[in-house]
């Protein structure tokens, strides 16, 4: 069981990272333990709860189902990076305004999943929103407020986009 280690280079939240990691180490453990990016959370460790959802090369993935070594050469964005860039600012504000989080443990993953839907544009129905976040477990809110917040941001962004048109 001697762990094999490999060298990887990747971009995490805009920073170039080179490190030596055990081949068995998951992406979320690498982010949390090696890079101290503790905003991504570990909930179930088998891809069900979505607390570890991060963005890799533009797609959302489960940080517990991907190995760090698979991210060699990849661009990884976590809640820390998505917050600092301002990309999620309106969504975060809507979650806060609507109390769409209680304990906050699922929130980084939930925001990443919600933004993934919102980036597709338009105003999805409440059912479509529920369907899209149905891989992200929240024990606190009962989801209603989360759906409200995502719906409100979709409406707002659509309005802004429409307003932008000449």
């Amino acid at each position: 069981m001697t762990a094999q280690s490999l060298d990887i280079s990747l971009t995490v939240n805009g920073d170039a990272v080179s490190d030596r990691v055990e081949a068995r180490k998951t992406l979320v453990d690498f982010l949390r333990e090696d890079l101290a990016l503790t905003g991504s959370h570990v909930g179930c460790e088998h891809g069900v709860c979505g607390a570890c959802t991060v963005r890799v090369d533009g797609e959302i993935v489960r940080g517990c189902l991907m190995l760090a070594v698979q991210c060699d050469g990849a661009t990884v964005q976590t809640i820390e990076g998505l917050s600092d860039s301002g990309e999620l600012a309106d969504l975060q504000a809507a979650f806060e305004q609507r109390n769409a989080l209680q304990c906050g443990y699922c929130t980084p993953g939930m925001l990443a999943a919600a933004q993934d839907l919102l980036r597709k544009g338009g105003v999805p129905s409440r059912d479509a929103i529920r369907e899209h976040i149905s891989g992200n477990y929240c024990r606190c809110t009962g989801y209603h407020a989360i759906v409200d917040a995502i719906e409100a941001v979709a409406q707002e962004r659509t309005k802004v986009r429409a307003g932008d048109k000449p």
């Binding site: 909930g43 305004q97 443990y105 149905s134």
Partner: protein, 798 residues
């Protein structure tokens, strides 16, 4: 979000200028959490910190004959391998009993099993290593010889003479029994026009907090002090227990609780592996971290609600309920959980059955038995979902039997809104409830008549929709009657300290704690309103036994009603202190002054006299300019405990509208409503979100959640793929309404709201499913969770 129209007109005592009471103020801690900048215990790392992994018993019941540790001790990164016998020299065992639950007994429990493992998942050996991965690698090298013992798994036969006794020293497998008889139930049943009898079964389930249990214990040999970073709901309770079982003084122990990833009652108990982690830190003189993985969570986080209840209701043709009778049997695992015990849930069931109704004839028996499964204890809404499902299930079955509308039978039996104070058949004392007003509000909120018409029309098209209801009561704001009188050092009082900083802002320390409910916001709202300052200038600290007033923490819906009142009173006290200083500076009478929006003003006309910044500057830096003899006191502490009532009961009523597919047995939830009365509403949004989250947790119990065990005591579905929890796609929108009956026990008048949703939702969903299936001649479903298979069986299709 139907709430503004429900708010009370004006609550005079609370109606201060710039009051935040009754306003949906966003929580101050949310910005941190949405950015991923929270600090959960699983995020904590300390210098020299080691990680522990536990080897857990694969057997439900086994003698531990030997533990071979040599190979593991030599594995890379391993710091120590410690057995139960070794750790027993560091930490004393505990027994989960309370003296007021007469006859309740349990056996000593050790941090790590000694000689015998009593459930699958009990820790048998600890491996401490530099990383968790290294500890887990080494765990595979531990060789434990077990001699399997017969496992007691079926609660029904746990008390049979032929069944082995789990703890020989206790004599039998009975943990606790309670019997109650009120009025003349036999006579009432004999004279009733109809009697309905059935058996309700509740699936053992668990909290599934998104963040598993986590603890970092740091024994500093240099200061002889223990600091424990723990995701707990009750920091002071844990401080007491760590000190007690490590033979330390309480002041040698500091418990720090920052962000907690969900609690729901799961994190208010003593867990052997957390106690062991603390003991390991003391033994090894360095920080040790334990974070449960998901499988460990399923087999060691407390389970709850494993009850089988034979139940009976007598009813007359006019709808009047003649009598209730129940016989409850519940299996709680091998130990009564410390220190709250595993007898409370059954005790609550006995207390709460029939609680909303005037019926005075009641017989109950509850038996709590030991078994070789994971332990059961208090989980959100303790006992309520069971009692409400039994009561409301019986009421709707009785209504169907006599052909009466389910709302009408309730109207004829609910305690009248004018009847308070009132004592229930089981002896519960109600200060002021509003069952009828709540029911009327629900009726109009959901447009009951229209839904009935829609249901009828759709049935003709072969679409089977159902409406189900549940009236309920909820225990909140517990006094010492809950635990203190039974000998547990669990504080029912709570405190708040408020101080003015040197720039005129307020720093508040509160004994209640935050796990997402919004306690931090509620405390800030109470202080800001009582004192007279913008909420953006109030900072709240919690979860630190060194730096907060002694308190009970956050459980049993107590944070707002008890912690909030303490904060309110502390804010008022500091206001008086500040006005005394201001009066001396301004040469005015204190009563002629007020504080509004952070400025000392003339009470009469609001004219600004002295900003708080200036007052603070004078007091802290130029006290020489104050009049002679003035010694300002810009800090105040107040404590509060309910004195007039043992509990502040709340009430409410829920409704579920759903559709059952008779071909597949699938249930589609269409809408859910809850009207509740938690007294004064401090923050309407937070109350609604407690209700909604609670409702969904209750829906989980009704439709999905069950810890499945086989006859050998092996949990079969200890992962989140096989143990189903409510996810967004299956959940309905939930509409909330409110009636406001403040408690006169406190100035604030707030009662709790954390458990109302969970209390009523399972009953509602059950009743709605049975309402949907009634025209198809299905047997009433009373065995939760209502899986598609059970529904098809009830329809006779499989």
């Amino acid at each position: 979000m139907k709430i503004s129209d429900d708010s009370p007109p004006v609550l005079t005592a609370l109606d201060r200028p710039n009051s935040y009471i009754g306003r949906s103020v966003p929580r101050p801690n949310l910005h941190r959490l949405t950015q991923g900048r929270g600090q959960y215990v699983s995020d904590v790392t300390l210098p020299r910190m080691a990680h522990v992994a536990y080897v857990r018993s694969p057997h439900a019941h086994a003698e531990i004959k030997s533990i071979a540790t040599n190979a593991a001790k030599k594995a890379p990164g391993v710091i120590a391998v410690v057995t139960g016998a070794e750790l027993a020299k560091v930490m004393t065992p505990w027994v989960g009993v309370l003296t007021h639950l007469k006859g309740l007994k349990s056996a000593p429990q050790y941090p790590i099993a000694v000689e015998r493992a009593c459930w699958q998942g009990e820790a048998v050996c600890a491996i401490v290593a530099r990383t968790r991965a290294q500890a887990e690698d080494a765990a595979e090298l531990i060789d434990i010889a077990y001699r399997p013992l017969p496992a007691v798994t079926d609660a029904e036969t746990a008390l049979d003479a032929a069944t082995p006794t789990i703890h020989a020293s206790l004599g039998d497998n009975l943990c606790f029994e309670r019997k109650l008889e009120v009025g003349a139930p036999d006579k009432a049943f004999a004279e009733a026009d109809a009697v309905v009898e059935t058996t309700f079964v509740f699936g053992r389930h668990t909290g599934v907090t998104t963040e598993p249990r986590a603890v970092v214990a740091d024994w500093n040999e240099g200061e002889r002090r223990l600091t424990v970073y723990q995701a707990t709901q009750a920091p002071h309770m844990m401080q007491n227990l760590f000190a007690k079982h490590l033979d330390l003084a309480e002041h040698q122990v500091r418990v720090l609780t920052k962000d907690v990833g969900g609690s729901f009652g799961i994190k208010v108990h003593t867990y052997a592996d957390e106690m062991a982690t603390v003991a390991l830190s003391k033994l090894l003189k360095r920080p040790v971290k334990f974070v449960a993985d998901r499988i460990e969570s399923f087999v060691t986080d407390i389970h709850a609600r494993d009850h089988r209840i034979k139940a009976k209701i007598g009813v007359n043709k006019d709808g009047s309920i003649a009598a209730f009778e129940i016989d409850d049997l519940t299996g709680i695992g091998p130990y009564s959980v410390y220190p709250r015990t595993s007898g409370i849930e059954a005790n609550q069931v006995v207390n709460l059955i029939g609680g909303p109704y005037t019926c005075g004839n009641y017989r109950a028996r509850a038996r709590v038995v030991f078994q070789n499964k994971n332990v059961m204890c208090q989980y959100r809404a303790v006992g309520h979902p069971i009692a409400v499902a039994v009561t409301e299930g019986l009421v709707e079955l009785a209504a169907a039997k006599i052909g009466m509308d389910p709302l009408e039978i309730r109207r004829r039996n609910l305690i009248a809104d004018e009847a308070y104070p009132y004592t229930s058949a089981a002896g519960l004392k109600f200060e002021k409830l509003s069952h009828h007003e709540s029911l009327a509000h629900l009726d109009s909120l959901m447009n009951y008549a229209a839904l009935r018409a829609e249901q009828k029309k759709l049935r003709e098209k072969g679409v089977y929709r159902g409406l189900g209801f549940a009236s309920f009561i909820e225990v909140t704001n517990p006094s010492a009657a809950f635990y203190g009188v039974g000998g547990a050092r669990i504080s029912s009082q709570d405190g708040a300290t408020v101080k003015l900083d040197a720039q005129g802002a307020l720093i508040v320390a509160s004994g209640v704690s935050e796990q997402g409910q919004g306690a931090e916001s509620v405390i800030a709202q109470c202080v800001a309103s009582a004192f007279g300052i913008g909420i953006d200038r109030v900072r709240v600290t919690m979860g630190d036994t060194d730096n907060t007033p002694y308190g009970g923490g956050t459980w049993a819906s107590r944070a707002a009603g008890i912690g909030g009142e303490a904060a309110w009173q502390a804010g008022k006290a500091l206001r008086a202190n500040v006005l005394a200083v201001a009066a001396s500076v301004l040469q005015a009478k204190p009563e002629a002054l007020d504080i509004r929006s952070g400025v000392v003003v003339d009470a009469a006309n609001g004219a600004e006299r002295l900003p708080l910044e200036e007052l603070a500057r004078i007091v802290y830096f130029r006290p020489d300019t104050l009049p002679a003899g003035i010694q300002p006191e810009l800090i105040a502490t107040r404590h509060y405990v309910p004195r007039a009532w043992p509990f502040a009961f709340t009430n409410g009523v829920q409704a579920s509208y759903l559709e059952v597919d008779p071909d597949t047995g699938f249930v589609k939830l269409l809408k859910h409503w809850c009207v509740e009365d938690c007294g004064t509403i401090i923050n309407p949004q937070l109350v609604d979100e407690q209700i909604r989250g609670g409702v969904v947790q209750g829906i989980g119990a009704a439709l999905f959640e069950q810890c499945l065990y086989d006859e050998r005591g092996q949990m079969l579905n200890g992962n989140m793929a096989d143990y189903l929890v409510p996810m967004a796609a299956e959940m309905p929108d939930i509409e909330c309404g409110h009636v406001v009956s403040p408690t006169a026990d406190s100035e604030l008048g707030a009662k709790g709201a954390g458990e109302a949703g969970t209390a009523g939702a399972p009953a509602c969903v059950m009743n709605a499913i049975n309402d949907a299936l009634r025209p198809l001649g299905a047997q009433p479903l009373t065995d939760m969770p209502f899986t598609p298979g059970k529904i098809l069986r009830a329809l006779g299709k499989v």
